[in-house]
């Protein structure tokens, strides 16, 4: 349990948000061209990182907007929050 600083509403309890999982998974531009392996990679395979992870959150019980978060999954510390469409911060890898 932790606080998330929504870029639109400010700091709120995590229970107001829903997790959208790993961020920056690009939707295939040509879905009809994809092989089964590529579909599996897109749909199912996840980095599931222990450490610094880039992820999406939705403020579902607030402004209902999506945004990105950089969080350390080993201790739940949030390192950065940035809006959809913005470049991820470069100081984390």
């Amino acid at each position: 349990m932790f606080l998330i600083n929504c870029p639109f509403c400010g700091e709120r309890d995590q229970s107001e948000f829903s997790s959208g999982g790993e961020a920056h998974i690009v939707r295939p531009k040509q879905p009809t061209e994809l092989s089964d392996d590529e579909w599996a990679e897109y749909l199912f395979m996840r980095k599931n990182i222990k450490g610094i992870q880039f992820e999406r959150w939705n403020h579902v019980h607030g402004c209902r907007k999506w945004f990105n978060v950089v969080r350390d999954t080993s201790n739940d510390k949030i390192l950065s929050v940035y809006k959809m469409g913005e470049k991820p911060p470069v100081n984390y890898k």
């Binding site: 999982g21 599996a40 395979m45 599931n48 080993s74």
Partner: protein
């Protein structure tokens, strides 16, 4: 078995003030090379090593555990055992495990306190009723015992349940698997460790895997905190940390690791002699032999390796428990904890080869791996020894996420994942 436990050994040791009991398993330093190494000394990993040594030709086996054996999810689950899954593949897998449970204490000469007290799953709305009746029929077609109980029969089987039609989620009935029940989780890890150690398996604790050495498309050994260990067969049974190990070999798995919580109350006199689960309100409860209520809560919605879990999840579960069992309203909760569970998109496990030769994964058990411990170990040992899956775990391969042949137990399992 070198030191067989029996009533005679108990009397003999009682006469010497219980000071001469032998260590149940060894504590060796790792050798330079093994025929097979199991990564992860939980119930599934130790069971794998046990069946590898017992049923297959591999004798030089090690189990590496970064902490202490049984200290991960084996020691953190709510010990429920059942096999009433919907799909044929799952029914085969989990009932194989249940049949092994039925004889496990004798097999291991170690009391795992397996208690077939029955597991009841409640229905709270018409869709639950339809789903659970369908599952009952599917179970019976697969030779798994299952019965449907109406509200009065539920009340008779477990009198403390509130079956009033006025509650928010009224009890409209339920299913009962009488062969299902619970076991003592630590004893399972210890029993398998003792059995495996007795057959020469090296159980190496406080030894964390730091890297996997590959030569092209096959494995050559493991970098560990106790140095490099050579082997050409690695079976990874690392639960929540499976993705971490997979990343060392350059593999990605279809897993997300999330905290799952449980809690126990203060001990009280016997009040509930079965296991009751409810999918719709996500509450399940049983009573340990010590008298504590053992309560399982849900997972957090986000990836985390913190072994804590959020307070609001516990709160929601306890709300449901209190509505179903008003008698517990003044119970005090003593302990709460979290374990990290690795969840597959189809909520079914992976017991599989990989595209790297000699690297095998047994993972993705998600929120319900304990019940499968003996079966999982047996089938994973078969897969490692023969480099081919057993017919009971063939459906649980890693390639199903490419072929699309998923074993979708998400809504079909008896409790929400």
């Amino acid at each position: 078995m070198k030191n067989k436990y029996s009533v005679f050994s108990l009397i003999k040791n009682a006469l010497s003030q219980h000071e001469n009991w032998q260590q149940a398993w060894g504590n060796p330093e790792p050798k330079k090379e093994y025929d097979a190494i199991i990564v992860g000394g939980g119930g599934h990993g130790l069971a794998t090593a046990y069946y590898l040594a017992k049923k297959h030709d591999l004798k030089n086996i090690a189990v590496l555990e970064k902490g202490w054996i049984g200290g991960g999810n084996t020691g953190r689950n709510t010990t429920i055992i059942r096999s009433n899954y919907l799909w044929d593949a799952s029914a085969g897998l989990y009932d194989h495990a249940l049949k092994l449970w039925e004889n496990l204490s004798q097999e291991l000469n170690y009391n795992v306190m397996f208690s077939q007290r029955g597991v009841m799953n409640l229905a709270h709305n018409l869709q639950d009723v339809r789903d659970l009746k369908r599952r009952t029929h599917a179970n019976r077609l697969n030779g798994i015992d299952a019965v449907w109980l109406n509200t009065e029969e539920v009340k008779k089987f477990c009198p403390i349940i509130n079956t009033s039609p006025d509650i928010r989620y009224p009890v409209l009935g339920g299913t009962l698997q009488r062969r299902a029940g619970t076991a003592r989780h630590d004893a399972v890890a210890w029993g398998y460790a003792r059995g495996a150690s007795d057959m020469g398996v090296d159980i190496i604790q406080n030894c964390e895997v730091k890297g996997i050495k590959r030569n092209g498309d096959k494995v050559e050994g493991l970098e560990t905190t106790k140095g490099f260990i050579k082997t050409n067969k690695i079976g990874v049974v690392a639960a929540g940390h499976s993705s971490v190990i997979a990343n060392m070999a350059g593999l990605k798995l279809p897993l997300e690791s999330k905290p799952l919580q449980a809690l126990v109350s203060e001990p009280v006199k016997p009040i509930i002699d079965t296991v009751v689960m409810s999918n719709a309100v996500h509450a399940y409860v049983s009573q340990s032999d010590k008298g504590e209520l053992v309560i399982g809560a849900g997972t957090d919605s986000y990836v985390s390796y913190t072994q804590r879990g959020s307070h609001n999840i516990v709160e929601e579960t306890l709300k449901a428990i209190l509505e179903l069992y008003p008698i517990f309203s003044r119970m005090k909760m003593l302990r709460q904890w979290g374990g990290i569970v690795d969840i597959c998109p189809d909520a079914s496990p992976i017991i599989s080869k990989t595209n790297i030769k000699g690297l095998y994964f047994n993972c993705g058990w998600g929120t319900g791996g304990f019940k499968a411990t003996p079966g999982s170990g047996d089938l994973f040992a078969h897969t490692i020894a023969n480099d081919e899956p057993h017919k009971l775990n063939a459906a649980f391969n890693l390639n199903r996420f490419v072929s699309g042949d998923l074993v979708d137990e998400h809504g079909a399992a008896a409790v929400a994942h």
